[in-house]
């Protein structure tokens, strides 16, 4: 500010040129343009006012540029169409003539005036008011600088499921460094737990493990498994992330993944990967094809950590990779962009008491059934009941936790299809009768309807209606010893009782339990359903409200594998575009806090949707990170001390504009 005062008055004294456009007859047909020009000439600081047929044309722009040069204009008002149409055109023109592009103002006398007003006199009066407002406002305009910041070409990807792996490979293959952070000991996510994928029935592991291996060995990908992001600072182009690498108690640099330690470990715990349907050792990799193939010691089940004795793994490890003293490590990394691919949680159906999950051993969730079907799963791929016998009939209940007022209103989008897949797998492996109990069959994807048709011919019984309960209370001889699914066949309008041996619950996909923490950590928003919100539901489905933070996969909403992969690739493309551009422009019309006036009341702190306002504890003032600020002005309007200024939309400028329109 100080230097502006030093500059001579002659330089800074506003000298305004006003240009009124005819827009052919679009404006001039209704507005008396010469009258507006005369009016403009009489406004304070207006050095010249002119009219022209088409201001946006080359001669029109030249007229402005010549006047800037010859008359020394330092501010330009164009009264023509909407600024949303031609503001960039004229800003560019005055910039070419050596003026700062922010020393420009547009009066919208076409859309807001000539086109909406019938009476010529009224239209002319309104045009004058709008010109007067623009002149009064531009008088106070200050030049603004558009700042560019470089983009660090490294990318942080959070979550090593299919979405994270896909995005990582795309970026890494393009030659840029990726940090892929995964909280579990291996990447792979939910997809690696699945047996087959619909509608093609590819083996899930068969198509995923090559990608996992590529990600694990890619020279541009630094895998950080068993790790979590603890802190994010900075903004697009230059984020700083703190990653906690949890102690594995195995030295990654020494371990060659031979597996002897696992073999020799005498202690067991429930396998997370098999959802507790099988057991794993205290030192373990979640599954045989884990990437990286380095085991971790689970302190909760390791006898050495619990009782101070054992160390069997250490004795047998020839490479001396076991390190009981290992501590969590905090690693700091610098990245330019972040992709969040944290996936989903499977809905826990226990609260839906009527379906008996947890009460009846043969009521299982879809994800459990995936493991049961899988050849390396707890049953070696045999579809069997808890007692080891083969089921003669299986009911598949759709929409468990989805499309349900009490749980999630949304459709989880994948259940119909995986339910159909189960029918096929059951028919392939057993002779069981299969009952699909659905509300609506939603088979919207490529090849999905065909898959449905095909399954319909495989002897599957479809019953429309959401079952009321699963019970073991038999009312007939036939039902004894069975699970009876009770409900209504809404196509027939009759109450039905279907005795089966096994019930599969098609559980909803829900936002991760810790999604809120993740949202806060990365300054992104959650919707009412707790999934992360994209910047625009249709036109910007991978960006978030925070620049440089992208989302892909089920963390944004339930979706199938093809959609997840597409979204992950889209996020990668967005990141690559930013990397190849190498720099980003920051918003110039941002808000700034005058710390000399800020009392640290913290009214503004929570108002910023971009978390751009930090409270500096030591100085007891709030400060806006101008790289994060998008210039909405919401905090400015709230500040009780008028300590926040919205550049280009200052309180004084808007007050002047109010005065102007009220001429």
């Amino acid at each position: 500010m100080a230097e502006k005062k030093v500059a001579t008055k002659k330089d800074t004294e506003p000298k305004i040129g006003v240009y009124v456009c005819h827009c052919g007859s679009n404006i001039a047909g209704t507005v008396d343009v010469p009258q507006v020009v005369e009016f403009a000439k009489g406004l304070p600081a207006v050095a010249i006012a002119r009219e022209y047929k088409f201001m946006c044309s080359d001669p029109g722009q030249s007229m402005i540029k010549d006047d800037i040069k010859q008359l020394g204009l330092n501010r330009v008002v164009v009264a023509s169409c909407s600024p949303l149409l031609h503001e960039p055109t004229f800003r560019h023109a005055i910039q070419e003539a050596g003026l700062n592009p922010y020393l420009f103002e547009m009066a919208n006398i076409r859309e807001h005036c000539s086109w909406t007003t019938e009476d010529h006199g009224e239209a002319t009066e309104k045009a004058k008011a709008l010109v007067s407002a623009a002149v009064k406002r531009i008088y106070l305009h200050q030049p603004l600088e558009v700042r560019e910041v470089p983009v660090n070409p490294n990318t942080l990807i959070v979550g090593g499921g299919i979405a994270g792996i896909q995005a990582a490979l795309e970026i890494a293959d393009a030659g840029h460094k990726v940090y892929l952070v995964e909280k579990d000991p291996s990447i792979g996510g939910h997809m690696i737990q699945f047996d087959k994928t619909f509608p093609t029935l590819d083996c899930s592991a068969c198509i995923l493990t090559p990608k996992m291996t590529s990600a694990g060995s890619h020279p541009n990908i630094e895998l950080m498994t068993y790790s979590e992001v603890e802190e994010i600072a900075g903004f697009i182009g230059s984020f700083k992330a703190k990653i906690r690498k949890k102690a594995k108690f195995v030295d990654e640099s020494k371990c060659n993944g031979c597996g002897v330690c696992i073999e020799k470990c005498p202690w067991k715990a429930d396998s997370e990967f098999d959802l507790g349907l099988s057991q794993r050792k205290a030192i373990y990799t979640p599954f045989p094809q884990a990437v990286p193939n380095i085991p971790v010691i689970d302190k909760e089940s390791c006898a050495y950590f619990l009782k101070g004795k054992c160390r069997a793994c250490e004795k047998f490890c020839e490479r001396e990779a076991i390190d009981f003293e290992q501590q969590d490590k905090i690693v700091e990394i610098d990245v330019g962009n972040i992709i969040i691919t944290t996936g989903y949680d499977p809905f826990d159906p226990t609260p839906i008491i009527k379906y008996g999950y947890g009460k009846f051993p043969n009521v299982v969730t879809g994800l459990e059934f995936e493991r049961i079907c899988n050849s390396v799963g707890p049953t070696g791929g045999k579809i069997v009941l808890k007692d080891g016998s083969e089921p003669k009939s299986i009911a598949i209940i759709h929409c468990v936790g989805s499309r349900d007022e009490n749980y999630h209103k949304y459709c989880s989008r994948v259940c119909c299809m995986y339910a159909l897949k189960y029918s096929h797998l059951i028919k392939e492996k057993t002779k069981a009768d299969v009952y699909q109990m659905y509300i609506d069959m939603r088979c919207f994807g490529k090849g999905y309807e065909e898959f449905y048709q095909r399954l319909s011919d495989e002897g599957v019984t479809f019953i429309r209606g959401k079952p009321a309960e699963v019970t073991d209370r038999a009312i007939s001889e036939e039902e004894k010893g069975k699970l009876i699914v009770v409900g209504e066949d809404s196509l027939l309008g009759t109450v039905i009782r279907v005795p089966v041996d096994m019930v599969i619950l098609c559980i909803a996909l829900e936002a991760r339990a810790d999604a809120k923490n993740v949202a806060q950590l990365f300054s992104i928003s959650q919707g009412a359903d707790a999934f992360f919100i994209e910047r625009h539901p249709k036109l910007d489905p991978v960006a978030t409200m925070t620049d440089g933070v992208f989302i892909a996969g089920c963390c944004q909403g339930p979706k199938d594998i093809p959609d997840t992969v597409a979204q992950a690739s889209a996020a990668a493309a967005r990141v690559l575009a930013l990397i190849s551009k190498g720099k980003v422009e920051l918003e110039a019309t941002v808000a700034v806090i005058d710390e000399e006036k800020c009392s640290g009341c913290r009214i503004c702190n929570l108002l910023c949707p971009y978390n751009a306002i930090d409270f500096i504890e030591e100085e007891e003032v709030s400060r806006i990170n101008d790289a994060l600020c998008k210039g909405c002005g919401t905090c400015v309007a709230a500040c009780p001390s008028a300590a926040i200024t919205h550049k280009h939309f200052t309180t004084e400028e808007i007050m002047a504009e109010i005065e102007g329109v009220l001429v």
Partner: protein, 141 residues
């Protein structure tokens, strides 16, 4: 002579200003009484602007933002949704009629809605008559 009210309109850049533009592009006719001031977000509209407009002789103030959930800045319009009712409660105490201040929501595709809000408000304020500027009277004791 018939009284024609002067109404100051605040439109957010992303939804309502575009809605107003669309009314023009579609050549819909509407009352010329509302003069629009563009702000980036309805959340920028300070209650001070509204009282300032009245002080300067406006007969009404119209604030238009994006519909709930559609804010370009995700939730700026919710702040407006909190401020304007409290401001209106205060202005009601000050004897300013309810119809002189209006907060409403117009999307970029709702040119017709923009026109109907502007026409409706203009008619109501016209019926109320001019807002007598008390501050000028106050200067004379």
């Amino acid at each position: 002579m018939n009284f024609e009210p002067k109404i100051v309109g605040f439109c957010c850049n992303w939804c309502s200003y575009r809605g107003a533009d669309l009314a023009g592009t579609a050549r819909m006719k509407c009352s010329p009484n509302v003069r629009i001031i563009r702000v980036m977000c309805s959340g920028r509209v300070e209650p001070t602007f509204v009282v300032k407009a009245f002080e300067l002789g406006a007969d009404g103030v119209l604030v238009l933002g994006c519909h709930a959930g559609d804010c370009h800045y995700s939730e700026g319009n919710y702040k407006t949704m909190r401020r304007m009712p409290l401001l209106k409660k205060m202005l009601a105490q000050m004897g300013i009629e309810e119809e002189r201040v209006r907060l409403d929501w117009v999307s970029a595709s709702e040119g017709d809605r923009f026109v109907s809000i502007v026409d409706d408000m203009t008619a109501k304020v016209r019926a109320l008559g001019p807002f007598k500027n008390n501050s000028k009277e106050a200067k004379h004791g």
